[in-house]
Amino acid sequence: MFSRALRVPRAAAPLVRARATAARPSTVAALRSVTTNAASSHADKAAVPDADDQPFQVTLSDESFETYELDPPSYTLDVTKKELKDMYSNMVVTRQMEMAADRLYKEKKIRGFCHLSTGQEAVAVGIEHALTKEDDVITAYRCHGFALMRGASVRSIIGELLGRREGIAYGKGGSMHMFAKGFYGGNGIVGAQVPVGAGLAFAHKYTGRKNASVILYGDGASNQGQVFEAFNMAKLWGLPALFGCENNKYGMGTAAARSSALTDYYKRGQYIPGLKVNGMDVLAVKAAVKYGKDWAISQNSPLVLEYVTYRYGGHSMSDPGTTYRTREEIQRMRSTNDPIAGLKQKILDWGVCNEDELKAIDKEARSHVNEEVAAAEAMAFPENKPEILFEDVYVKGSEPQFLRGRTPDENFYFSS
C-alpha cells in the first residue's frame, strides 16, 4: 500500500514532462539525465602529442552535464598525458588506501566508525585537479579521499584510523575528522559543514582572494535545514561557494527518492544556478568544478553542483550495503561505470601510455600504500597520560587551573 502510494507521483511525472516537452521543444536537452559512464569522453588519437606535458583536447560526452539556470560548461577541456596519468594514479592510491582501511577494520585494528569512498574516487580527484591549494574543501565524514588529495599522507590517514599519536589528528578524531591545508574536515554531523563552508567562502570574498570553497554533502544531508540556510546566506552575499551534493543514491540505506521531495539536487538552490555532473568521470568533474569556480568568482554567486556517483560498499563498515539495493546494481556499476577502469580505457584508447606503464602505476600505488600502512601500523599509540588527553581544549598556556576527570584524583592540573 505504502510503496504503491510512493510510486504514483513518479509514474505520473513523465506525463507532465512529455507535455512540457511538446510545448517547448527547446527544453529537451535539459530533461536528459547525465550519464554515469566513466569512459564517455573522446579525443582524436592522432592529435595526442608525444610530450608528457603538452596539452591536447578532450571532448566530454554531451551527457556529462545538466544545468539549471546556467549555461553549461565547455564540453572540451585541455589535458596533458602527465595529468591523465596523475589522475589515474591518484584514484588508484585512493582506492588502495580505502581497501587497506577495509582490511584493517575487518582485522579489528581500526575501531569505531569508518566510511569508505570506494567507487566515488573520481569526485575527490576531479575536484582537486580543478583547484589550487589556496582554495578550500570541506566535506562530511566520507573524507579519506579528500584528505589525501588535499595533501595528507596515506600514513597519517591510516595512522589516524588506527588511533595513533602520529595520525593526522593525533588519533583523537579517527575516520571522520581529518584536516589539512585547504581542507576543513572531516565533519561528523550531517550537514553541519555546509554553513561552515559558507563562512570559508565569505573569508575569501572579504579578503579579496580569487578563491572558492568547495562544500560537499551527501544526498541524505541535503535535506538538513542548515543546508538551505547556507544557500540563502551564500546567495544573499554573493559568496564563491561551490555547494556540491555527492549523490550516491542512498543516504545510509534510504534511497534518495524516499528522503527527498526533489531528487534533482542541483536544482535545490532554487535561486542559485545548478550544475549536475557525471561524478564517475574524473574529467567531467574537473571540467565542472573548474568552470564552477571561475563562474562563482566572476559572477559573485554560489553554485549548487550535483556529482552523480556511486559507492560500492555500505554506508559504513557496519552496513553490508546489500539490503537496500540489489547485488546486480552494485555489480553493474562496478563493471560498467567504474571511474578507474573508465579512465584506464581512455588512456589506452588515446595512446597516452601502454598497458605495462599503467600496470607499473598500479604496482607503485599498491607498494606505496603497503609501505605507508606498515609505517602507520608501526606508529606508537598515544601515551597513556593526561597531558595528551587534556591538551588542545584551550589555548596552550591559558588553560584553566585544571579540567575534571571522572573522580577528583583524576583531575588534570595544567602546569603553566
Binding site: I189, A192, P195, M233, P400
Partner: protein
C-alpha cells in the same frame, strides 16, 4: 512535595515581613507582581545608589585590574548597551578581521548594542543575517577557522538552541580535532541577551548559561555592569577560544555607571570579590548580584554578621581558587543564580566546594543554592521564580542558624 513546603515557607516569610496585615490582604488581591508598599526586603534595586556600580570616576578608575594608562584617563557615564557598543566599536577599529553579524544588528539590534556600527565601520563588516541561528553559528565558525574574529549576535539567548549543535559539536571541539593544522574556532565570540525582565515569559527570559558551562572548550562569561562588560567583552573578542558572552538584558538600560574611556580588558576565568566578609560567602554572577547585595546589607544589619560577595564573571572555566579561599575563611556558602536550580552553575560550584578536601573540612553548614525553581520561565510568576531579596536573606539566615 518539597517545593510546596518551601513555597509555603516562603509565603510565611513574606507575610512576616509585612508590618500591617491589612496591607497584606490588599497585596494578595493583586493580579500583577509588585512589591508591597511597606516591604522591608523585596524593594526594587535602586541602580542609582548601589555600590556595585561606579557612580564616580574615582570609583571607576580605582580597580586594580585596570592598566595605568586607563587609570589616568577619562571616564564616561554609560549604560550596559552603550558600554557593549564601545567595546564592539573598539574591536572593529583595532582589527579589520572583526566582523559583526546577527539578526537586525545592522539597524542597531533590538537592544541597540550595535547602534551606528554599520554606518561607522561599513555594511560589509556589520551586517544582518537571515533568521538562521544554526547557519549564523556555522558561518561564524568557518570565519574563525580562517583566522578572522567574528562576533555573532543571537537576538535572545532563548533562540540559541538551533545553534547548539554548531557550538557544542563544531566550535568547542575544533581545536581538539584539527590535528596539526593549528586551526580553531577561537576567534568566535557569541553575544546573547539573557535573563528575566519581569515579563519575558517562556521565550524571552531564559538564562541558559549552564547548558554551555557543561562543554569543555567554550568560555562562558556574564558581566554584571557596564564597566565589567566593556573589559570582559574585549577580552572575549581577543580570546583564542570560542566565547559565549551573555548579557543580562534587564541591565541594558538600568545599570548606568562611569566607564573608563580608553579600551581595556578584564581577565577571563577570574572571579572578583565585591565585598569582603567573615561569616558567609555568596557566589553569584550577572543581575542577581544586586539582589544578593541588598539581601546581605539587611542581613548584616539584622544579624550582626559580615558577608563576602563574589562575582564569578566567567562561569566556565571558573575561578575555583578565589571561591575556595573565601569559603575556607567563612565556612558558610550560598550560590545564587537566576536560571533553574537543577544541574545549574550552583550545582557545579557547590559540588566543587564539597569535593575540595581542604574546603570541605572548613564547612560549618551545607552549601546552599538559591536559584530559579526547576520550571520554565512563567509570564505571571517570573518575579517569584527569580531569586528575590527575601529568598537570599532567608538563605543567609538559615546558613547562620544551622
Amino acid at each position: 512535595m518539597k517545593s510546596h513546603l518551601s513555597l509555603r515557607r516562603l509565603n510565611r516569610t513574606l507575610a512576616s515581613l509585612l508590618s500591617q496585615p491589612s496591607r497584606a490582604a490588599i497585596v494578595c488581591n493583586r493580579h500583577h507582581s509588585t512589591y508591597p508598599p511597606n516591604a522591608r526586603l523585596n524593594i526594587p534595586t535602586d541602580y542609582s545608589t548601589t555600590p556595585l556600580l561606579a557612580h564616580s570616576p574615582q570609583m571607576a578608575l580605582s580597580s586594580s585590574e585596570l592598566p595605568p594608562e586607563v587609570k589616568n584617563g577619562m571616564t564616561k557615564r554609560l549604560n550596559l548597551f552603550q558600554a557593549i557598543n564601545e567595546a564592539l566599536a573598539t574591536a572593529l577599529r583595532e582589527d579589520e578581521n572583526v566582523l559583526i553579524f546577527g539578526e537586525d544588528v545592522a539597524f542597531g539590534g533590538v537592544f541597540r548594542c550595535t547602534m551606528n556600527l554599520a554606518g561607522d565601520y561599513g555594511a560589509d563588516r556589520v551586517f544582518n543575517t537571515p533568521l538562521t541561528e544554526q547557519g549564523i553559528m556555522g558561518f561564524g565558525i568557518g570565519l574563525a577557522a580562517e583566522g578572522m574574529r567574528p562576533i555573532a549576535e543571537i537576538q535572545f539567548a532563548d533562540y540559541v538552541f538551533p545553534a547548539f549543535d554548531q557550538l557544542v559539536n563544531e566550535a568547542a571541539k575544533y581545536r581538539y580535532r584539527e590535528g596539526k593544522t593549528g586551526r580553531s574556532a577561537g576567534g568566535l565570540t557569541v553575544r546573547m541577551p539573557c535573563g528575566g525582565v519581569g515579563h519575558g515569559a517562556l521565550y524571552h527570559s531564559q538564562s541558559p548559561e549552564s547548558l554551555f558551562t557543561h562543554i569543555p572548550g567554550l568560555r562562558v562569561i556574564m558581566p554584571r555592569s557596564p564597566l565589567q562588560a566593556k573589559g570582559l567583552l574585549l577580552s572575549a573578542i581577543r580570546s583564542n577560544d570560542p566565547c559565549i558572552f551573555m548579557e543580562p538584558k534587564i541591565l541594558y538600560r538600568a545599570a548606568v555607571e562611569q566607564v573608563p574611556s580608553s579600551p581595556y580588558t578584564l581577565p577571563l576565568s577570574k572571579a572578583e570579590v565585591l565585598q569582603q566578609g567573615e561569616n558567609v560567602t555568596i557566589i553569584s554572577y550577572g543581575q542577581p548580584l544586586y539582589t544578593c547585595h541588598a539581601a546581605l546589607k539587611k542581613a548584616e544589619e539584622d544579624l550582626g554578621i559580615s558577608v563576602e560577595l563574589i562575582d564569578l564573571r566567567t562561569i566556565y572555566p571558573w575561578d575555583r581558587e578565589t571561591v575556595f579561599k573565601s569559603v575556607r575563611k567563612t565556612g558558610r556558602c550560598m550560590v545564587v543564580h537566576e536560571s533553574m536550580v537543577n544541574a545549574g552553575v550552583g550545582a557545579e560550584v557547590s559540588a566543587a566546594i564539597q569535593g575540595d578536601a581542604e574546603t570541605f573540612l572548613r564547612l560549618e553548614a551545607p552549601v546552599t543554592r538559591v536559584a530559579g525553581w526547576s520550571i520554565h520561565s512563567p509570564l505571571m510568576f517570573e518575579k517569584f521564580n527569580i531569586p528575590d531579596v527575601a529568598r537570599v536573606y532567608d538563605g543567609i539566615k538559615k546558613l547562620i542558624e544551622y
